[in-house]
Amino acid sequence: MESLKVLVTGGTGFLGSEIVKALVQAKNYEVTAVDINPPALGTSTFADVRYVRANILHPEELAKVFKEAKPAIVIHAVGVYPLGLARYSPKGKEAVFAVNVEGTKNVIEAAKDCGATGLVYTSSITVLVDEIDADFANADETWPTGRAKLVYGQSKTIAENLVLAANTTDFLTCSLRPATIFGPGDPACIPTIHSCIAKMESPIILGTGTNLCDFAYVSNVADAHVLAVRNLLNSGTAAGEAIFITNGEPIAVRDFCLALWKEFGHIPPFQLRIPEGLAWWLGVIVEGVGWAVGKQGTLSRGVVRDGTAVRYVSIAKARRLLGYKPRVGMTEALEISCAHYKRQIGGR
């Protein structure tokens, strides 16, 4: 069987490198990984993957790389997200929009020009949940987007709309919306929650502590991308569709944190429950003090919402259209990811 050419943008990033790995393991793909950075030290690289350096903000660079690679399908997994408190701030909007929106525009153009037949875009669950003030209990893809209030969710929504609007009969596109991704080498989720131990924040429960949220293990998300590629090359039923990807195991955020800390041998010695209303006001105060002193605190209204909101979705569509099944369950996924992070911080 002739191998199919697939190009992955962001191919050396946290998710991108996992997608490259999944494509290699699926055997019949010839992979080109495009990234602004070369593979990071310690990450696995593959001998038969072509690694090419390019910046998605430079259309002419992209055009050249794409024409050389001649991919059948492009996976666009580049994205930037503001970490920590920057997530809730409108500052830095231009930088995020440049990469997430302009970059996506460039990738769509380059993909069409080089004769690719399809594009799989890595969107995000935040197109929905960055509305911040609303709860999302078992939401599905029929829920309207466009209400996101945070920069990241807004940028992903615009980019997703661009991708889906580009869907035509000879250029099939689909958009995958993973929940918060975690895994080995994860730059955000695990380090952030882990850092609460040292900051002695682990005993604090915001709100009821029973609100359910979705997470997604990185290799499951990578599987979904490979399945989407396969779908666009075959039946094409996913064309023009946005699809949620999660671990299919909604869990109380508090429990996820507790389970994660437990992997590092930490269980809070006592628990302090702060009702959501009170926490919100504390957030206001901390934000105010932070603004006056010129230094940011840990708490803010955004953090309180992220900690107390109900945010989980149904993955019925992913199961139906893509045949998606989360292969790595939450328990195993947390064990692997935390063991990796333990080695990482231990090695420093």
Partner: protein
Amino acid sequence: MVSPLSLLYYTVHPQELRSIIQWKVWHNPVHERNEREEPESLKRCFFFLDMTSRSFSAVIKELHPELLVPVCLFYLILRGLDTIEDDMTIPLEKKEPILRDFDNIIEKDGWTFNDNGPNEKDRQLLVEFNVVVEHFKKIKPAYQVIIKDITKRMGNGMADYCNNAEFNVNGVDTVADYELYCHYVAGLVGEGCTRLFVEAGLANPALLKRPELMESMGQFLQQVNIIRDIKEDLDDKRRFWPKEIWSKHVTNFEDLFKPENKQLALDCSSEMILTALTRADDCLYYLAGLKEQSVFNFCAIPQSMAVATLDVCFQNHDIFKKNVKITKGAACQLMVESTQNLRLVCDVFKKYVRSIHQKNNPHDPNFLKISIACGKVEQFIESIFPSQEKPKDLKSPATAEAAEKVKLEKQESRWDMIYMGLAVAITLLIITGSMLFVAWMAGARFDIAFTQAKSELGALFGSVQGGIEDVSDASGHSEL
């Protein structure tokens, strides 16, 4: 008998007392048994039903007339089988052939069995088993086939366990063995009942295509019983908790009951509870396939009781000391809530699963798995009864065509408003006009009315103006 202790309890828990009264006073059976037309021998069968079953007899007796007798007999046959299997005074060589042949025995006219030990509480049922046989042969052949098939498979399954020396000495070994045991004693009952319901046209035939659902119905009930009865079974020298689970926590089964191993025992019990809890969403799914109210009640009540029992057993060390039960008030409330519709049963499940979630302990080795299992039940309930309404789509339409359509719709609705307003105005005008016309025809003098109104209005304005002048005059005087 009302004890002073329970009196005190219900004084502090008036809502439970309310549930008891509510259930006792207001519950109307969906179908009532027609006792007068029953022959003596059938009455005897129902007598045995009351005698042998505490929880099931009430729900069985309210079943749809089509299934009332078949299900009652099905229950008595399985109870008879169980009484023979349970009786340790019957030697194996005698027991085994009876168990394996029980599906034929139920067709033998006049068959009775007198060799149960004197302490066997249900021995009288077997002594007079001929009444069961008599009526079994009178029910529809299709029902007979189903009951016979299940009896055969259960009898053979039980005989295999009796023969298994390992099982008799050490109890259940692996989780697979445990679930197989529950399959024989409960999963099969689930299958039999489902086939009876479908045969009677009272349940969705699709239930037969998802055998894991009916299996879970039986498994959930049986596993909860096994968890709750740990102490009672120990006293009877029986072990149903699989070694594969308890050996992770203690070396010897008896260690679970030592006070110094309290935490280990709790960890072990929560692993057992987790195993049962993973079946809960299947049970709700199954209940959604039942069409008839009495059948729904028959299935839903035991399930609600089971999930409530699971909650009282969770993180409760008392299960290793005594038989833990839900209170009578809670039981009545559960019965009220389980005899209406699926939504209320889902609320019951949500309530108890959340309670389990609240008690989940981070030190527990299965903390994460229990949390995920709770989340799964909650998500399942949310999928059949969404608590949130999907927000309206406010975003700007994706394409120019769609935008044009929205614009047209808006314009149309504006014109609708204008037309509506015009219609109202014209109607009012016509009514007023015709009334005035009728009045004029009848001789009303509008000219006089008009001049009168004019002069009165003038007088009104005139007097107001005068009033103002008066005030200014008054203030003028006061200056002096």
